[in-house]
Amino acid sequence: MDKSRNISLKNIFLVFLKIGTFAFGGVYSMLTFFEKELVEKHKWITHEEFVESVALGQMTPGPPIINTGICIGYKLRKIKGALVAILGQAFTGTLLAIILAIFYIKTRDNVLLGSILKGVGSAVVGLLLSIIYKMARGTIKDYKAALFAMAAFIALAIFKLNPITIIFIAGFAGFLIFGRKSK
């Protein structure tokens, strides 16, 4: 794994730029795109390395897809490869976000844009609900998990605790409750 793979930083950047530009629609479409480009087409990494990178991306803090890219970039060219992978992946999205922001601020009082955004905002609420639905199906499988979810909800919605504090407490409580059992 450590024998140097002679892949130039420029090529790493270009492939990740392509992934970051043409993979619309969230994580899953990006993953298929990743696999096609890196494993099948360029053969830079093996399928096993890809799967490992995806798993690792989901276990580390920050956006999983970026972390997967960092992991792959690091395997190819160490820290420089990781950096270039981030740049490539984020470039197009960031540029578009800036363009949209400029447009958004300039036309803020535009009535039509206001109407469009009213629809968009409602759809985002629906999107959040569907994310919650999918996450809940994957994570809330017993009463203990349900209790964690309820406690976090109450802590934020009623007691207005800071979510960062809540995550810390949930992590520590998870360690105390699940850690003792598995030993």
């Binding site: 276990m59 955004l117 009213k118 959040l128 964690f148 809540i166």
Partner: protein
Amino acid sequence: MILLKFCLILIMVNALTIGGGFVMIPLLQKEFVEKYHWLTNQEFLDAIAVGQITPGPLTVMNAFIGYKISGILGSILAMISSYLPSLIITTIVVRNYYTYKESLFVNTSFKGIKPAVVGLLIAVALSLGKSALVDYVTLGIAITSFILIAFTKIDPTFVIIGAGVLGAFFYR
């Protein structure tokens, strides 16, 4: 000063959230909307929409928010702050993958954090819903979007764009 605070929040939030861009939503909403009032709930929803319709990870919504707070510099710093924790932590973990994967502390604390995040997201969705869903049309769009995204394979990007078109049509 605002910019520094903004960056520190992003670094902290990205260093603490595991498992997807949406996990950071409750944390960012609390800091940006409720605590510092840099954005309204509606603007925060618009930022999520931008993150969703642009290619790449949801995190690019931070570039949008950064622009609103202090222009291009805000956008660039937002992206650096969002990815810096990932870069540092992930490269360390890559080298110690198996030790990390088997770590009792990491595994068991995730077991607590994952369901807690679901609870946090429900609370935030309710609070954002209160600002966005003001009549039957907006409520209808939200429910339809939920059904389409949760139960069909339609790309959320199209759902959001479609909802924008409906908004323009209903609120002319």
